[in-house]
Amino acid sequence: MAELLQYLISGLAVGMIYALIALGFVVVWKSSSVANLALGQLVLFSAWFTYGMLVQANFPLWLAFPLVILFSLALGWVIERLALRPLIAQPILSLITITLGVAYFIEGVVTLIWPKSVAALPRFFPTQPIRIGPAVVSQEYVWVAGISLIVFVLLTLFFRYHRMGIAMRATADDQLAVQACGIPVTRIFSRSWMFACLVAAIGGILVSSIGGITYGLVETGLKAFSVVILGGLDSFIGAIIAGPIIGLCENLGGGYLTPIIGWAGVKDIIPFIIIIIVMIIKPYGLFGEVRIERI
């Protein structure tokens, strides 16, 4: 029983990390239907930038964080302006490939500026774990969960009520119609990339405060894919619910299946099995918008 509680709590905690990174993916998809393959590299870049501000330049927190935010907004603007803008109205596959090019480029930039390959951020949160009955959870995870929820709420409110958010949704729906209404589509794309980079930066800081800054951050970014598929590519609520579901499945599946099957590492494969099953049963995810096509 104590084990079950522990699995549930750690599953929820780690799931919120996945959810946070997934949100960054959904932002871009929701406004331009572009799959951002550079997500992991964005996470990596912003984590290193934070390291540069906090450790190398030794800025205090109140100065470093606004700088990181400014940096990530600028990064998003630059990527959109230089790489994606020239490809407007080209096949969607070319757009996806260009994010791949951006991914390599960022990776190179990171190696160039921070050849030191593994580093640690200073500790933001106290080490004393929080006890919930017989189970424990580290404060880091609690903070991450809280911040993910805040990001989620802000994004949802923005997309529902703000003029720009509504315009973004409309753009994803029908670019031509939006242009006809006089909404500058290019600005919409630009903003959505800025938001995506911002969310990636928050994710990067939080994840690397737990596990250090390594190239592994890129693959943590990939994990977000399974979350967005389960939740639906264009749904914030989907991401924020699917994240913990994946986390729970990993923990419960790992906890109870590993002793039965005898193959260690069952946990790592569970998200992908979930993807295949979801794709067969509910192709657009739990909360994704079902597209009905007509000829």
């Binding site: 596959l93 070319s94 490939t97 480029f105 190179g108 500026i113 260690a264 590492g265 494969i269 993807i275």
Partner: protein
Amino acid sequence: MTLPSGTRNYTYAQDMAILRTKTQWVLMAVFLVLLLTAPLYLGNYLLSVANLIGITLIAATGLNILTGYCGQLSVGHAGFIAVGAYTSAVLTNRLELPFLVGLICAGLMAGLVGLIFGIPSIRVKGFYLAITTIAAQFIIIWVINHWSSVTGGFVGIPVPEASIGGFTFRGEASQFYLIFGIVMLVIFFAKNLARTRVGRAFIAIRDNDLAAQVMGINIFYYKLLAFFIGCFLAGIAGSLMAHWIGFMNAEHFSLTESILYIGMIIIGGLGTTLGPIFGVVFIRLLQQVLTVMVVPSLESTFTALPSGFATGVAPMLFGLIIVLFLILEPRGLAHRWSLFKSAYRLWPFSY
């Protein structure tokens, strides 16, 4: 001097021919002679690059049939290559079967696994399907790593040299002939596939699957057929790669590799036979040029620069060139080539 402005066909046979003009015949012959005599004047290193290009080309042609012709985006190609590589490795190492059996079984096995993971394609497409194939890749690699009694698991598995009859393909030069023999077969097959009923059905499905279904095309059948053919070729490439490298370890089949395959066929040009050739040659040569020349020379020339400079510049240039190519020619190198060709044929009225 008379110059033809445009190429005209007077019979159906002429219209259908793959090589339609004298120039094409001559160029093709020159190219084949150059290719077949390559081991005479290329060193081991350049031959190994050529072999790598050949193996990649087989896999990329498969992916092009699946993604370029039939429109089913697959980002798990390295996983299917791994299935082929391990099938061949297990059959020839553990069961000591001949290489040809391993090669064909590798293709069939990869094709079958492709069929299984292709099933979701009935219901999903585009990026959703891409994620499904990513999942396929992770599941395949995980199974290979953990099914250690058969695959050798994390330890890896040695693969004997390829041999047919009593002849062993030892060294880069003899493998060059083996690999490029298969490459030619595969390209010929792919070129002709696109012109048959099946190929046209694929294209119809890519352009609009609903419309294709209304026209009476069995999309379930054809989508799965595309998965089978695409993954079959991936399996063949995997088998060749296993015998070429000589030792298999699942770490060689990363997701990055899968994504790179997609990049190659898009840079080359989707849905053309030439596209993968251009894309594969371009990417593989670019990688080599960066590793062998640019990085070491940067490293030795600019000693004052920060140490990440040389190694960081390689992926940066790689990414930058992909971005530039897509911005300048979003429809791929093959498109640019056909523009060039028609400009040449219509000369002097090429506007």
